[in-house]
């Protein structure tokens, strides 16, 4: 069923489209060229709205805001597990929520985010 998405502001990095206002035609779940006769069965008004492809939010939980809240809540956990500074590595601490540098060194050391 041919559907027209009208007037949205489109962001499509894969095709170099960066905030262009345009129409999109969808037929049975596929994006298609505009119909030659201009006829559509359904129109959705997207003026004033943003259109983007679904995205995958790749992220880790090492340095983010919520893990930082966790770190702030765990001073006793850190104190039991301190890591002294060496010539090459900064000091740090932590067990349940290690400091970022300590976590980074551990990941490099043995490819795991966890205790040795």
């Amino acid at each position: 069923m041919l559907m027209k998405l009208t007037g949205g502001r489109v962001y499509d990095p894969a095709h170099g489209i960066n905030g262009i206002v345009r129409d999109i035609y969808v037929d049975d779940g596929w994006i298609v060229d505009p119909p030659t006769d201009g006829k559509v069965l359904q129109e959705v008004d997207l003026r004033g709205k943003v259109v983007m492809a679904g995205a995958i939010d790749m992220h880790t939980h090492i340095g983010g805001g919520k893990v930082n809240i966790a770190r702030t809540m765990l001073p006793e956990d850190h104190a039991a597990d301190v890591v002294a500074r060496t010539e090459l590595m900064r000091s740090g601490c932590g067990h349940a929520a290690p400091s970022t540098l300590t976590a980074g060194y551990q990941i490099c050391r043995n490819g795991l985010y966890g205790r040795l």
Partner: protein
């Protein structure tokens, strides 16, 4: 995003001075002169418009090159037994450089606003809290309870930007929002709605506020109260407030720790936070501590992710060691436990190093003056004006990019602290 709309005029400029990081300023830059054209307030205008004066570093009052000042500072720190790095009114990279320097030099770190911010930090560390962000408040609040604080005095644009916005995400009628002050009343009219609905006020002294909050929490929990009035507020009025909190769909309880100016205010903050948790068994309620000035949130965030701990942490033993009482820099300075104080203050020329017997190095905003000349003064640029950077907002998890608006030739705090670390 900040944009240059015409030569010398920038739009959507974020303010690192206002705590809630208003990011809709229009700023003009002519040579070295910066003026806020639109959406400024007292803190923002003074933050952007204070002019550049000194550009040359000084050692013991004598003008020297930056390299000489850095060398001298490194020598002071190398010979120091108990260095304190404080002030720390800076942005993300300034904070990173301070942490690296503290780690290498085995110093103690603290921030100029710690007396206030620890009223919140101690609560988070003890029993935690359920807090929210400015964006959520803007879109959802139906009842705002303001505890012990005259919010607009410290955060002039809070009401305009957060409580009375033009649109909200879910189409809520902002005129239906209730604003109630408990403790202090408002000094101005920012809490009045656009159509003239005034805030309600229940006044009491700071000395009575802890007990008022305890009673309020008890009433929310359904306890019977024998007292008839507390600090001049009728218990029946508090009972009505408790009922309204329970009936609200998204109440927000807010306070500014800087205005809870009484001993152990953290206990009152905890009472509020525990009450918010109690409310969440049947409805939605969130706390909103307001702060974020002078880089206090930025520096605490960086310290926590790099060391595990917030301010008042020392590296004396080669690893981070946190003690909010022993490593309180003001106490240390007062008790003569500090031989070298490195004071960073890049936002406000009036935030000067506390007077003490310690040898003092000031990395300060150009334009800072002194009652007593420090051993070293290195004038630096301001994040968001003289160099780009990043600053965290009052609500913690959100950070904003800062742009460079002019070329003053002043180094950044990051440049200076990194150079000192290299020279150690």
């Amino acid at each position: 995003m900040t944009e240059k709309v015409e030569e010398g005029v920038w739009q959507d400029v974020p303010s690192p001075f206002c705590g809630i990081a208003s990011d809709d300023l229009t700023v003009s830059v002519k040579g070295q002169k910066v003026s806020v054209l639109e959406n400024g307030d007292a803190y923002t205008a003074s933050g952007f418009e204070t002019p550049v004066t000194d550009k040359a570093p000084r050692v013991n009052g004598k003008v020297v090159t930056l390299a000489v000042a850095v060398e001298h500072t490194a020598r002071l720190i190398n010979n120091s037994k108990q260095t304190v790095i404080s002030g720390l009114a800076t942005d993300l990279n300034g904070a990173r450089a301070a942490m690296a320097l503290a780690d290498k030099s085995r110093a103690t770190i603290d921030h100029m606003n710690s007396v206030e911010s620890f009223k919140n930090t101690l609560v988070l560390q003890d029993t935690g809290w359920m807090n929210t962000t400015l964006s959520e408040v803007k879109n959802r609040v139906d009842m705002l309870l303001i505890v012990g604080s005259d919010i607009e005095a410290g955060f002039p644009r809070f009401f305009e930007r957060i409580i009375w916005p033009e649109d909200t995400l879910f189409g809520q009628d902002i005129e239906s929002r209730d604003v109630i002050y408990l403790g202090k009343g408002p000094s101005g009219r920012a809490s009045t709605s656009p159509e003239g609905k005034k805030a309600e006020v229940m006044l009491c002294d700071d000395a009575d506020l802890p007990e008022v909050l305890s009673i309020l929490r008890a009433l929310v929990a359904g306890r019977a109260i024998n007292a008839v009035d507390i600090g001049g507020i009728a218990v029946t009025d508090l009972a009505r407030l408790a009922a309204r909190l329970k009936a609200a769909k998204y109440s927000v309880v807010t306070w500014a720790a800087s205005m809870l100016d009484f001993d152990h205010a953290e206990v009152s903050v905890q009472m509020v936070c525990e009450m918010v948790k109690d409310l969440n068994t049947k409805t939605r309620s969130s706390g909103l501590p307001l702060g974020g000035k002078d880089g206090e949130v930025t520096v605490n965030q960086v310290a926590v992710w790099q060391s595990g701990y917030p301010m008042r942490t020392n590296f004396n033993r080669g690893y981070p060691d946190y003690d909010p009482y022993l490593s309180d820099s003001l106490r240390m300075l007062k008790d003569d436990e500090v031989d070298t104080l490195l004071w960073v203050s890049s936002f406000d020329i009036e935030r000067k190093a506390p007077a003490s017997k310690a040898v003092t190095v000031v990395i300060g905003r150009s334009g800072m003056s002194f009652d007593s000349e420090p051993a070293v003064f290195i004038p630096v640029g301001i994040p968001g004006i003289d160099h780009s950077g990043r600053a965290f907002r009052s609500d913690g998890v959100v950070s904003l990019p800062l742009r460079q608006l002019r070329n003053s030739g002043l180094p950044s705090t990051f440049d200076v602290l990194s150079a000192i670390e290299k020279a150690l």
